[in-house]
Symmetry: C2
Subunit: 484 residues, 2 copies
């Protein structure tokens, strides 16, 4: 960032959301484009957000019995092909390693697109008795999927960072509880940490993870009216366990097949975060994820410089002591206006302004990102006051996202109404659905919207008696939306 001309966001979130998003990501220093199409470089300010997401999730995983492990990044082609037993027409879009040094490999190796096929054989090896179960493994890593689409940092990249959890259980109940535990933890991350209320649901049969019994997901609404699949948690039934021979001896020494799950959250969560909260001034971050939560900006004239800076530095030190992530911006070569713009661009949730008046009155002026709301507060008890204001900022972001979401779920009871409503407003349209994939096709073909979820509870009555598309009996409620 070498000059003021580069600081501002020039694109509009409302009118050119794609360009705006790309500009925020780059100018806030989150990521750059790599020389190879489809790859990005995650810069420190971006990676720090991912680290905080990891810290939260990883802590919750470990509190609920998960252990981390690390499996090879390469999977032999023959291993990957074992998924053909489970998945018809399996044709992985992967990066293939064919040479090591100057030698051609006897068997080519896939860079992992997901690790079921290399993890499952080891789970089979390690599972002998019911006492070895449940077995809960997770790894934080990157995976590669060779899909040819336009690069969108954190949303669509050939390599992406994620965690993938893989568990085995003695029975369906244990595996289903596991599936729901992880879904709830993902939803908690979105709500409590990212200030972004998601919907929880189940994928329709024809859109499940290949080989899964049930795919659950959380869906988040983006400001352009599209839905993002924000994390998934799969109950795999016994299909993977059968294909990879994950069996155990029960208390009577009888051999049984395990029930397995897998679940993952990728850095797409960061994309959803950035896109939802940010604005035409730049990045907006919830305090729980902001690398710096507070910036203290002293505003001095020559005659009061020392005392203003000292007062600001003391205040910053007190916040730091209290565990707030705080930066003191006492740079000499930048004026306050420049600093304000820069901190807004970088998404620091709370700015503390200290001028001669604040020093004289033993006060501090707080300004919220994103709405600029200001309040002058007592210097005494500042750490507690700042924490309250950070909570308020989180609450504002959450309330705004929640209000948007609530207004963007509409009902429809005909094909034309689905098309018209999504075409005009975006968002979600819920309707009765017969359960037949054929009834999704005309919506897909016309406006590229699809069924992004159905209710988690299979016994829930559909909202209408008839399928909105074919008019036959409705089996469940479908949520249509355009999707990332």
């Amino acid at each position: 960032m070498s000059g003021e001309q580069e600081l501002g966001i020039t694109e509009s979130k409302e009118h050119s959301p794609g360009e705006w998003y790309a500009e925020v990501v780059q100018k806030a220093g989150l990521a750059d484009y790599a020389p190879m199409g489809g790859f990005i470089v995650t810069r420190p300010r971006g990676y720090a957000i991912w680290e905080r997401i990891q810290d939260h999730l990883d802590g919750w995983f470990k509190d609920t019995g998960v252990t981390n492990a690390y499996f090879p990044m390469f999977i032999p082609e023959s291993y990957l092909e074992r998924e053909k037993d489970i998945v018809e027409g399996f044709d992985p879009e992967v990066a293939w390693v064919t040479h090591g040094g100057n030698e051609e490999l006897e068997e080519r190796l896939a860079v992992r697109p997901t690790s079921e096929s290399i993890i499952a054989p080891f789970m089979a090896d390690w599972t002998r008795s019911h006492r070895d179960l449940p077995m809960r493994l997770n790894q934080w890593c990157s995976v590669v999927r060779w899909e040819a689409t336009e690069t969108k940092p954190f949303f669509r990249t050939k390599e992406f960072l994620w965690q993938e959890g893989h568990t085995a259980h003695t029975d369906e109940e244990g595996a289903w509880d596991e599936t729901m535990t992880r879904l709830e933890q993902y939803a908690r991350l979105y709500e409590d940490v990212m200030a972004l209320p998601p919907l929880k649901g189940r994928k329709p049969e024809h859109d499940k993870f290949p080989g899964a019994h049930t795919t659950t997901s959380i869906e988040a609404l983006m400001p352009d009216g599209k839905s993002v699949q924000a994390a998934t948690s799969h109950y795999l039934g016994t299909s993977f366990a059968e294909a990879f021979d994950i069996t155990y001896a029960d208390a009577d020494e009888d051999e049984n097949t395990a029930h397995t799950t897998s679940w993952g959250l990728s850095w797409r969560a960061m994309g959803a975060l950035i896109m939802t909260h940010s604005d035409d001034q730049g990045l907006v971050l919830p305090p729980a994820l902001a690398p710096d939560q507070v910036v203290v900006v002293p505003i001095w004239q020559e005659e009061n410089k020392d005392e203003v800076i000292e007062y600001a530095a003391d205040l910053a030190a007190e916040l730091d002591e209290a565990g707030v992530r705080v930066e003191l911006d006492d740079r000499e070569h930048r004026n306050p206006g420049f600093k304000f713009n820069e901190h807004e661009l970088n998404g620091i949730p709370l700015r503390v302004e200290i001028g001669p008046h604040e020093v004289e009155d033993e006060e501090a002026t707080l300004a919220h990102r994103p709405d600029g709301e200001q309040e002058t507060v007592d210097r005494e008890g500042i750490a507690e006051t700042v924490q309250e204001h950070l909570d308020t900022v989180h609450g504002k972001l959450y309330a705004s996202a929640e209000e948007t979401l609530e207004g963007e779920i509409r009902e429809a009871d005909s094909r034309e109404e689905i098309l018209g409503t999504i075409g005009q407003h975006g968002g979600y349209v819920k309707c009765g659905w017969c359960g037949d994939e054929d009834c999704e096709d005309p919506i897909k073909d016309a406006i590229a919207a699809e069924i992004v979820m159905v209710p988690l509870d299979r016994d829930e009555e559909p909202i209408h008696d008839a399928c909105a598309i074919c008019g036959e009996d409705a089996e469940e409620t479908a949520y249509f939306a355009k999707s990332y």
Copy 2:
């Protein structure tokens, strides 16, 4: 682990160290061999050790100005080849990705063997003014080097986990300070966390990292008398900055070339840890890295079962409360002897035995791993007592490794003496050296020992006036050793 017959280590550390090491790694549940030669699966008990190493180092890095980032795992061949400007005869032994999905790539991609060539161009982009420096980036990732050697978990694997730090500075002083800061942090990890005193030194000119001005390393002595390069920290001078155009405008707006460093520590540290401290009963871990630091084993008869287990559970809860990583082993289907063996195999540093006598006398019996030393202590103040004993265990491990190291540094002043001393004892031999690579060759050829380091201080007087090999004037002191 399904039966008692599998529990014991059958190989001997003294007589078959290679087989013993492999057996400890597998039976203690640290790693398994992957289906592809050269790759391993890191199991939860192994990965937990790596996570603790990460936690320590990452905290120290961040305290000293380092920020984490993430660069692509692939490097275009043309980028990698830019290192040819720096390194003569550059021929990377890497894994090549040649196909994405069913398409052949226009340019093949190397799976990163190290990331200088993809990071440096971005550092160049991000560095404009002296205010952007120092720039300190680090990433935790895996890298792949396609070397055809026998697989040895954590020591020799084609894919390995590591961190790689890359920094840029305005001048030599800043870059050299950085190089030494990281070397000191690596040494601190070995000493304070791993209980393993290393040597600090510099690589001879002919064995530097390609393109580096100076390569420093820490070296750790293994029980078989071989040295392990335990971490490296390179001062790269301006060679990479020149090749990749990392320049900055100084305060006078003059353009200058930056000075850069890189530094890395891999999971080889885990290998050194396991090999040094473990014994014929299995794994031995220093308390700072042990996933479980303490196991509480209640030993009951039918008539006192409830009270013994309750007493043990209370004690474990108190330790847990105090922040000790503790496990209560109240399994019914295993007898105490089996449990003791299992916990010894798994390297739990401290065992707390609770029998009816301990309950009656309000005491607890502590047993140290590895030497089995026991002490019966008061129940009151148990958390503090346990912490003292954990410190004692660390101290014992450190003292033992230090004693071994001190006894294994010998002097020599002739070629025959070098060959004889290393041939007979292993360990390090230090001698005067003229500085010519040719004088290393006869030792290398005869017994595969090499100069693993020279003193950090370039001005240090050599221990002898003459080169032990050629008899010419000695320029410095060389440390010969066989090496991993």
